[in-house]
């Protein structure tokens, strides 16, 4: 029935008020239930159950290979690009809409769920074109509108003052930290609701890292942020909630404070106190 425009129901639903809320009173935006995920025959995620709150920063931590990136990339269906991957069981709902539903268009989903990658990856185009890309592919070509969005996004990513005089120079000419903030600006330019960040600071020096972390603080007023990080300090500094994964399973999910000060699970405790990982 709804095959004509698979995107419409998703958009409409995303705009609806949240239906459920968790113990601390935050409303749930993303609801993951009993998720099993496979790379071909290899199972990478085991029975994940997770409720990610709206307008909060949620951190995914855990030793490498535990499935943090895999789960993150399930949330905007980036895993679809890899042959042989499949969600074999369970659902992921954003505002009650199953994003793996038959009528969902992943293209529409990705406009609502942006992503920042581990290694900054601006396009080999000008700064201006990098930021307007997301809008241009949606058919927006109005110069004034694009100019507005460029300024707003760059301000939003705390990059405006540094690049306002060279908007038409290549994005590849920026420093590593600036490139990563450019990627963030490019992501917020399409006004997603959720921003996924996969170890966004792992290739940055401490000063650039601090800037991005500051930015995350600002962004959470408008966006729901999910950040994968290797650094426990970073999780502690920026996130409201933290989920700890181990070997493809969700071990513990709680207020960040509790995860670090008062973990309930001994594996979590061992990890956050630096005994393995």
């Amino acid at each position: 029935m709804e095959t004509a425009s698979s995107a419409a129901p998703l958009k409409r639903s995303l705009a609806q008020p949240p239906s459920s809320s968790d113990a601390s009173g935050d409303s749930t935006l993303i609801d993951i239930q009993n998720l099993d995920f496979y790379y071909g025959a290899k199972q990478a995620l085991f029975d994940i159950n997770l409720r990610i709150p709206d307008k909060r920063v949620t951190a995914f931590i855990g030793p490498s290979g535990c499935g943090k990136s895999t789960l993150l990339r399930c949330l905007n269906r980036m895993n679809d690009l890899i042959d042989g991957t499949a969600v074999k069981r369970g659902t992921i709902k954003v505002r009650g809409v199953d994003i793996y539903g038959r009528t969902v268009d992943p293209i529409e989903l990705r406009k609502r769920v942006g992503m920042v990658f581990q290694k900054s990856n601006p396009f080999p185009k000008s700064i201006y074109e990098n930021i307007t890309y997301g809008l241009r592919i949606q058919g927006v070509n109005n110069k004034t509108r694009l100019d507005e969005v460029v300024e707003k996004s760059l301000r939003g990513a705390a990059l405006w003052d540094e690049v306002k005089d060279r908007l038409h120079e290549s994005g590849l000419g920026l420093s590593g930290g600036q490139q990563q903030r450019l990627c963030i600006a490019r992501t917020i330019a399409v006004e997603p609701e959720i921003i996924l960040m996969d170890e966004p600071c792992s290739a940055l020096d401490p000063i650039a890292t601090a800037k991005v972390e500051e930015l995350i603080h600002e962004l959470k007023k408008q966006f729901t942020i999910i950040i994968v990080t290797h650094s426990m300090q970073q999780a502690a500094r920026c996130s409201d909630r933290t989920a700890f994964f181990y070997m493809g399973k969700l071990i513990e999910f709680d207020e960040t404070r509790n995860i670090f000060m008062n973990p309930k699970n001994p594996q979590t405790e061992a990890y956050v106190s630096g005994r393995f990982g």
Binding site: M78, R110, F117, P124, G134, I137, R186
Partner: protein, 536 residues
């Protein structure tokens, strides 16, 4: 434990890192390997250098010889006669315009008026009379040209024979036979004296030219009636053309008057006569011309046709295989395309003659393809046939290199694009192709290099007519037969006398090809290097 002072210090374990290496002829294995590969590289460079040197050595004296060739052309007065010949040829072009006009009128009578051929021809009687008079008007000029031509050729022949005898004598002297050498008679040709026989006829020519002009003006003043407005407009156009033509007569006379058989031919003229010469004419009884332009434009035309086909096919296939195909398709398509380059080009040429050329000729007659420029055509072998096959030859080169370039686009660009909500097509068109563009351009350039250098296919299929393709015909130029730089070398090299000017001219064509290939490769490498820096 006894105190340390009581035991003698244990000898320190020796730090043995020296080792005698096996040596062959005093060289270590490493040095041998290095020498071997270094040696190979040196041999390759030397061979390349020798090829260049050889081409230069064989080709360079061409320009000197061509200078002599052009000097004789002037000294013997052939140049003088060619003023008249040019005038005559322009007249022939005008009569061709009339024939075309007649054909149109005939067709009109048959199609629109529904007349039988005989009746339609009868209707054109007055036109034929007109055309006949126009065509005959040139006769006095033609007769004069023919007479003068004989004189000029006679001077040239004597001169050439004399040159041959000089050479013969030099050879005899070198062979140590001075007596026989002395026996070879030489003559000194008094060009100034001989040429008078030509130049003295100028008043005669002036008179003939004046009469010719008057005759033409008279004839075209009363054109025959033609059935349609369109045809009448063409007649008016013809009148204009004729008026323009007649207006050039005084300039011709002026040029003939100013002509001087002693004016030296500069070395640079020999050069420009080669590069910009519009005629490649050898073993002619009149004058040999070594102008590379018809061959160059032929090569260019065929190559452009080839690229027009090969670029979309090769780049499209590269994009498809790299971005869209399933692994099974990839496994099937890649080797298939690469297999094309394993087909011997002479086999492709056969295919072109026997199948493709014939097919294109037949297809060109199909009603629904009539919109295609140049269709229908009668010549089975032409630039289009050769271009199609060359396109096929270029596809593997372009495909392989373009696929490489696309494959080198970092995966991160693609992911970033998808993450912003782009579709597959948008990602390909806006991100992947632009990022790979310089690689793709250089792939196309190398494809061009492959095509320009290809010989067998063009020799067999291009039609081998030595003439600059008539670009005024618009796109239908692609159905004309052409000759190419590679084709001419392959065709004529076997027949020429080594050391002759013709032989050397072929070497210079080879040299030109060599430089074109060098230039194409150089530009392609430059572009690739820039690409590496920008994406790096």
């Amino acid at each position: 434990m006894p105190p340390a002072s009581h035991t003698p210090p244990a000898p320190a374990p020796s730090f043995a890192i020296q080792k005698e290496r096996t040596r062959f002829l005093g060289l270590t294995l490493d040095e041998c390997i290095q020498g071997f590969f270094g040696g190979n590289a040196v041999v390759a460079v030397i061979v390349l250098g020798l090829i260049t040197l050889f081409l230069f050595r064989e080709g360079s004296s061409f320009f000197r010889q061509n200078q002599d060739n052009l000097s004789i052309y002037r000294q013997a007065g052939l140049e003088y006669v060619d003023f008249i010949r040019t005038q005559e040829e322009s007249h022939t072009a005008l009569t061709r315009y009339l024939s075309d006009l007649r054909l149109r009128a005939l067709r009109h009578h048959m199609d629109a008026d529904g007349l039988a051929v005989a009746d339609a021809n009868a209707r054109l009687a007055s036109f034929d009379e007109f055309a006949g008079r126009f065509s005959d008007a040139v006769e006095p000029i033609r007769g004069l040209r023919s007479e003068l031509g004989d004189v000029a050729v006679a001077i040239k022949t004597r001169h050439i024979n004399n040159l041959n005898r000089i050479q013969q004598r030099a050879q005899l002297v070198a062979a140590g036979k001075p007596d026989e050498a002395a026996a070879v008679e030489l003559e000194t040709i008094d060009f100034a004296g001989e040429i008078v026989a030509l130049t003295a006829t100028l008043p005669l020519y002036e008179e003939a030219s004046g009469a010719f002009a008057t005759a033409l003006n008279e004839i075209v003043a009363t054109p025959p009636p033609l059935p349609t407005l369109e045809l009448t407009a063409r007649v008016a156009r013809f009148q204009e053309l004729t008026a323009d033509y007649v207006a050039t007569f005084p300039a011709t006379i002026e040029a003939m008057r100013a002509w001087d058989h002693t004016a030296p031919v500069a070395f640079s003229e020999s050069f420009t006569a080669f590069i910009f010469g519009r005629e490649w004419l050898t073993a002619s009884f009149w004058q040999d011309w070594y102008g590379v332009l018809p061959l160059f434009t032929g090569s260019l035309l065929v190559s452009m046709i080839a690229l027009t086909l090969a670029v979309p096919l090769g780049v499209g296939a590269a994009i498809y295989v790299n971005q869209l195909a399933t692994p099974a398709e990839q496994r099937a398509i890649k080797p298939t395309i690469e297999f094309i380059s394993a087909i011997p080009s002479v086999v492709l040429g056969f295919f072109g003659i026997a199948v493709l050329g014939e097919f294109l000729r037949v297809a060109s007659g199909w009603e629904w393809l009539a919109w295609f420029p140049g269709f229908p055509f009668a010549e089975r072998l032409n630039a289009l046939t050769a271009g199609c096959l060359l396109g096929l030859i270029a596809v593997p080169t372009i495909f392989t290199l373009a696929e490489d370039a696309i494959n080198n686009v970092p995966r991160a660009f693609k992911e970033a694009s998808y993450a912003l909500g782009a579709t597959r097509l948008q990602t390909i068109v806006r991100i992947i192709v632009p990022a790979a563009l310089s690689g793709i351009i250089s792939a196309v350039l190398l494809g061009l290099g492959r095509v320009i250098g290809e010989t067998m296919v063009v020799l067999l299929c291009a039609g081998n007519r030595i003439a600059i393709p008539d670009f005024t015909a618009g796109l239908s130029v692609i159905t004309q037969p052409v000759h190419t730089m590679t084709g001419i070398i392959a065709q004529e090299m076997g027949e020429v006398v080594p050391g002759s000017i013709h032989y050397r001219a072929l070497f210079v064509v080879g040299l030109l090809l060599f430089f074109i290939a060098l230039l194409i490769n150089f530009v392609a490498q430059k572009i690739v290097r820039r690409y590496k820096i920008s994406v790096g």
